[in-house]
């Protein structure tokens, strides 16, 4: 190849590269944004009261007991339909509870099956850093040790991990939701967690609001449907693994129950680059 020809090829490559670089600056103006922020709850507000068939009543203050945190982006807040601050509602029709038409949303934690039927709708992702932590929480805090299908107590974290690997067809903890990095950290009197709301529709002035589905006295969650989700078919173990109901952020009024924590200070976001903070300071008691 002559040097002339080489120069022409090099020039063409440079021009092409510049054109492509310019194309990368194209802004689509989709009206969407990624919001990032912090959710916080006072430890005393996160305390739950549990009971058992023997009539024992006890309190648990532990970040592992915090249910899924549902956070939505809305047009604004209202307080006319319920006793707690809630998103503004669209028209209420027939049997419906009214749709809040969220712009977007996210959660801190979601229902994560813990490889045994006893964990269906009881365990949330981002709450346990190890299998031993799950076993300890069930035994010490819930006072109901985790058991297998035959009712035998699971006492070994290794046995627990092996069951998960077999049941989920995985070979590493990183492929499971039940264990991993935890969401909440202690900060003085608060538990705090980071949250991302990715790809939400955005208008300056949107309001970020949410609630925590706290467990009732039997450690059950109102937003979990134990008749839905993935199906576990492991030899003679056959049941649904449980998952959240649909449209929780559209119809939060259908799911907020006694003891749930509602954000009393919603964040108004004008700049999506600025992080928001919301605190769940309203404990709903019906």
């Amino acid at each position: 190849m002559s040097s002339d020809r080489l120069q022409r090829v090099a020039l063409a490559a440079i021009v092409g590269s510049l054109s492509l670089s310019a194309a990368c600056t194209y802004t689509e103006d989709l009206g969407m944004a990624d919001l990032r922020g912090t959710v916080r709850v006072k430890k005393e507000d996160a305390t739950i009261t549990l009971t058992n068939l023997a009539g024992e009543i006890w309190e648990v203050t532990d970040p592992r007991a915090i249910g899924p945190v549902y956070v939505g982006v809305y047009a604004g807040l209202d307080d006319s339909l319920y006793e707690y601050p809630h998103p503004e509602w669209g028209p209420v029709l027939g049997d419906g509870a009214g749709d809040a038409f969220p712009y977007g949303g996210g959660t801190v934690g979601r229902f994560a099956w813990g490889c045994y039927e006893a964990t269906v709708c009881k365990t949330v992702s981002g709450r346990y850093d190890s299998y031993q932590s799950v076993l300890d929480f069930f035994k010490d805090e819930l006072r109901s040790p985790l058991t297998d299908a035959e009712g035998n107590e699971i006492t070994s974290a290794i046995e627990f991990q092996e069951k998960c690997f077999q049941a989920e067809y995985v070979t590493s903890d990183g492929e499971l939701d039940i264990v991993g990095d935890t969401d909440f950290v202690e900060n003085g009197d608060y538990y705090e967690a980071e949250i991302q709301i990715l790809g939400t529709r955005f208008e300056p002035g949107v309001t970020v609001w949410g609630f925590i589905d706290q467990p009732d006295e039997t450690f059950s969650f109102s937003t979990c449907d134990d008749s839905d989700g993935d199906y576990n078919a492991y030899y003679d173990e056959r049941y649904y693994k449980g998952t959240n109901f649909e449209e929780v952020l559209n119809f939060p009024g259908e799911y907020i129950r006694n003891g749930d924590l509602v954000s009393d200070t919603a964040a108004v976001v004008d700049d999506p680059e600025q992080p928001f903070t919301i605190e769940f300071g309203f404990k709903y008691e019906d």
């Binding site: 047009a75 604004g76 669209g90 028209p91 029709l93 027939g94 049997d95 038409f101 529709r201 208008e203």
Partner: protein, 317 residues
């Protein structure tokens, strides 16, 4: 030469019009009708409902039996009617003519329960939905509409909302579903807090029978949720036999043997081992489909069947 012959044969094959696969235009009924206001009937009315019962009170019908023709292919056809909210849930029902079943074509006995074929040229389908009249966008009797509207939130975002308060319900799941050709469709509307408020129900033409280009149907509104109807046949209470005799001739007369066919179908559904449908079709072959399996009627004692069920036999004579 061979190729030319094959091409000629192929071209002749392309000459088929296939008109018989489409319903033909029939001016005996309009494309779109407005029925008017129907009362909300007590649940006990499901035991006695018929075309006669519907027309029994002069100009104010209890319910409706009628027909529409096939659309011209560019506009939506169907019927609309209104009713007033009672302050409680009501059940809206439409039953298009006539009824359909899938013929069993397995290798088993020819006398199986659903072995006789259905006449699928006499079946049509309507889809049901409804809501508050104030949200209805159609022009009754002129144009079929919907219940779409807009809600603007406090930041000015305009959201399109479907104000439909009921769609066809599945008798199996309770969710939205389409019952299929000839099958009744129904839905519950909770009118709580809206006593005396007008609701509009849309019966949208989906499929018109090929035999006459006319879709006959019946429609009614009952008190209570659809699952609470007193009719005991079927999973959700509403069945082919909740409203019978909806199949009509071009002149509007009850189509011969159509009620008996519906009764045979319902009995067959409840007691499959008694072969009501096969017995009925063997006794009245003109009402059911063509080309039944060889020997299906020789393997059932039609005479004995008719002795036991005289109302299902010789209905055309």
């Amino acid at each position: 030469m061979l190729a030319a012959a094959a091409l000629a044969v192929g071209l002749v094959g392309c000459d088929r019009a296939a008109d018989d696969l489409l319903p033909q235009a029939n001016e005996a009924a309009p494309q779109i009708i407005e029925i008017g206001e129907l009362p909300v009937l007590p649940q006990s009315a499901t035991d006695e409902i018929s075309a006669t019962y519907c027309d029994s009170e002069g100009d104010a019908p209890n319910c409706y039996y009628g027909q529409v023709r096939a659309t011209d292919g560019t506009t939506v056809g169907g019927a609309t009617f209104t009713f007033k909210g009672t302050g409680s849930p009501v059940c809206v029902v439409v039953d298009p003519e006539s009824l359909t079943w899938n013929q069993y074509i397995g290798a088993g006995s020819s006398t199986v329960t659903w072995g006789y074929p259905d006449n699928n040229a006499d079946d049509g389908d309507m889809d049901l939905f409804g809501g508050l009249t104030s949200y209805y966008t159609g022009s009754p009797g002129i144009e079929i509409g919907d219940f779409s509207g807009f809600y603007t939130d406090s930041l000015g975002r305009e959201i399109e909302i479907d104000y439909v308060e009921c769609y066809n319900e599945s008798p199996y799941t309770g969710g939205e579903a389409h019952a299929g050709r000839g099958a009744p469709e129904f839905c519950t509307i909770n009118t709580a807090g809206r006593e005396g408020i007008d609701y509009t129900v849309v019966l949208e033409t989906f499929s018109v029978p090929r035999d006459d280009g006319l879709l006959a149907f019946s429609a009614a509104v009952f008190e209570g949720r659809c699952t609470n109807q007193t009719d005991s046949i079927g999973l959700a209470g509403i069945t082919e036999c909740t409203m019978t005799g909806e199949a009509r001739t071009e002149s509007g007369e009850l189509r011969e043997c159509s009620r008996q066919l519906e009764f045979a179908y319902c009995l067959n559904t409840n007691q499959p081992s008694k072969q009501y449908l096969t017995g009925f079709c063997c006794a009245n072959p003109g009402v059911c489909g063509d080309d039944p399996p060889d020997g299906i009627c020789s393997e059932i004692d039609v005479g004995a069947f008719c002795d036991d069920n005289p109302s299902l036999c010789n209905c055309g004579t």
